[in-house]
Amino acid sequence: MGTERIVNKRRKFFQTSAALLGGTLLYSIIKPFEAIAQTEEEPTIDDKNLPLWGMGVDIESCIGCGKCAEACKIENKVPEEPFYFRTWVEQYTVKNDGEVKIESPNGGIGGLKQSVPDEDIFKSFMVPKLCNHCTKAPCVQACPVGATFISPDGVVLVDETYCIGCSYCIQACPYGARFMNPVTKVADKCTFCYHRITKGLEPACVEVCPTNARVFGDLRDKKGDLVKFLQDNPTQVLKPHLNTHSRVFYNGLSSEVK
């Protein structure tokens, strides 16, 4: 009689503790997946009074002078070495035999120079690149501590005082737009010159572009330049198959562009 009671008690105890521990385990298993489910929804930005920044890039206008890449380095104090770029310009040259040559020496700073002999060229064009400020940013999804985020006005920013420097966001970015800043030792990237646009200025790259190949603006401003650019031109984003819903739109994007 007595032993039976103890056994019953013990059985009950095991059941409870098993349930408890099992619950904890289940929760820890489900937790990462719950996050995946969350990313299915678009991050909602409630305040419709805020701007929603974006950029249009006109490949048909870009002449590959590299002024934007240079200005970006000056404006944002990016180290001069040719391994760190918040924006850069690539030159694509499709040869007559179908081979595609892509070049961007020093990010295009100092002007891109044609390296393929004229007679071999089928066509050639320049593509400015920068952070695409994705609506579903893989870098923001990946950051383990919340040191990179989409600001309420739609700009992907880095919290320099909080970044632990794990480089996971750099691995997660499909566009190679992020780098590890050797001075601050945190992830660094294009901010659309957040310190300028919040003061009513244009980003430095837009400011210096001699051919207006870059159009910066508010996607919510129906009369703005950017909205007009999107209405007048057939635009495309980079790597659309990755479903990042980026906010940098290209006009004249050729299928060779990677």
Binding site: F14, S17, A18, L21, G22, L25, S28, I29, K31, P32, E34, A35, I36, Q38, T39, E81, P82, F83, Y84, F85, W88, V100, K101, I102, E103, S104, N106, G107, K129, P138, V140, Q141, A142, C143, P144, V145, G146, A147, Y162, C163, I164, G165, C166, S167, Y168, I170, Q171, A172, C173, P174, Y175, G176, R178, F179, M180, P182, K185, V186, L242, K258
Partner: protein
């Protein structure tokens, strides 16, 4: 910093094709190769211990204690290469304070803690508690103090408490198996979930990581068991060794099948990224993938153990073969991690070119540091084996 730039200029001169300008630097180096390697050894060693306890494969009994202590020693070290690779190691606590729920990496701290505190430490504690009580009465000095403290003041030695220890230990082991799967499957997910990188982004990655973890952990315990036996000058239990080798064989087959499936799938689908991956495998990863991982790490071990399943040579030959097979498998799995981590960063996400990986010897990310992180767990294991030798245990689970 100048040295770092010099290093990058060298890499810049070796760029092949076109890569995005920010991709010249490989952001994840040797330390991140070590991270899945060491975590894998932990998960694998633990699963070998569970085979004995939960799946009741009694032949493996001599390795139970060694396997658990091996898992613990490597788990202690598992996070150190990770933290040392951070640009701001002092901020690493943030991963516990504000873990980003959408990040595949953020949960690692918690998975690690769960595994260390709830699974491994508890299981070992339940297994040893009675011995600690007994040993605390017979030993002196540091050992006595350690045994006294570690019992947490629970000094019962009666049969009832021993039974309870056994039951709880069993329960934790059962809990530990999904935890070990979680720990390493999860490490695979860190890579497998990066859609930007076609070399990593495969749904099979967690499963491949899991099975390669088991392979490496089993091989490690096999080698350590032999070394410990030789050092103690006791006879190696051949039935045990043959059984470990048999499981190594089975799991290696599964692992190899999965990895082949992954590659065949890529080959057959031949998506956009395939052109560059083909060049990667044939070129920059040729030695580490085809030779180190597949030939030495998989085919040769499989052939040797497979042959032993049909024809058993003398014990001596088997022992020596198992030892070398174990070492080969350990090297092979190391290069499997290398091929994933380094290989995934060698080609540009523009899929148009390659950078190079020039590892250094000195510094926090160099080969010397890697050697330290690989030797340190072995030293910890030696210490643990001295402190709580499984072969001197009085109590034993059923």
């Amino acid at each position: 910093m100048e040295e770092h730039y010099q290093h990058l200029y060298e890499a810049l001169s070796q760029v092949d094709g076109y890569i995005y300008p920010n991709e010249i630097d490989l952001h994840w180096g040797l330390m991140i190769v070590l991270y899945p390697y060491i975590t894998g050894l932990v998960a694998g060693a633990f699963i070998l211990a569970s085979l004995e306890r939960v799946f009741n494969i009694k032949a493996l009994k001599p390795t139970y204690g060694i396997a658990l202590l091996t898992a613990l020693s490597f788990l202690f070290v598992a996070t150190l290469p990770l933290v040392s690779h951070l640009q701001h190691p002092l901020r690493s606590y943030e991963i516990f304070m504000t873990p980003n729920p959408t990040s595949a990496m953020a949960i690692f701290g918690f998975v690690y803690l769960w595994y260390l505190m709830v699974v491994l430490l508890l299981e070992i504690w339940f297994d040893y508690r009675l011995d600690f009580v007994i040993w605390s009465k017979t030993s002196t000095g540091f050992k006595k103090l350690f045994y006294k403290v570690i019992t947490l003041g629970i000094n019962d030695t009666d049969e009832k408490s021993a039974k309870l220890d056994d039951k709880l230990g069993y329960f934790i082991t059962v809990l530990g198996i999904p935890s070990a799967f979680l720990l390493h499957g999860y490490v695979g997910f860190i890579f497998g979930s990066i859609k930007a990188n076609p070399w990593w982004s495969t749904v099979l990655m967690p499963v491949i990581f899991l099975f390669s973890a088991m392979v490496s952990g089993i091989a490690l315990v096999m080698v350590i068991y032999m070394v410990v036996s030789w050092a103690r000058k006791v006879k190696i239990d051949m039935l045990c060794l043959d059984t470990i080798a048999k499981y190594l064989f089975y799991i290696l087959i599964i692992d190899f099948t999965l990895e082949s499936l992954d590659q065949i799938h890529r080959l057959y689908e031949a998506e956009e990224s395939f052109d560059i991956i083909k060049v990667l495998v044939g070129g920059k990863l040729n030695i580490t993938l085809i030779y180190m991982q597949v030939l030495f790490g998989t085919i040769i071990p499989l052939s040797v153990i497979g042959f032993f399943q049909i024809y058993k040579p003398t014990e001596k030959i088997r022992k020596i073969s198992y030892f070398f097979v174990g070492i080969l498998v350990l090297i092979g799995i190391f290069f499997m991690r290398w091929n994933v981590v380094i290989g995934g960063q060698l080609f540009s996400k523009s899929l148009s070119g390659f950078t190079t990986f020039n590892a250094v010897y000195s510094g926090l990310e160099g080969y010397l540091m890697m050697a330290v992180w690989l030797i340190l767990p072995l030293l910890i294991l030696t210490f643990l084996l001295w402190l709580m030798p499984p072969w001197k245990k009085v109590s034993s689970h059923e």
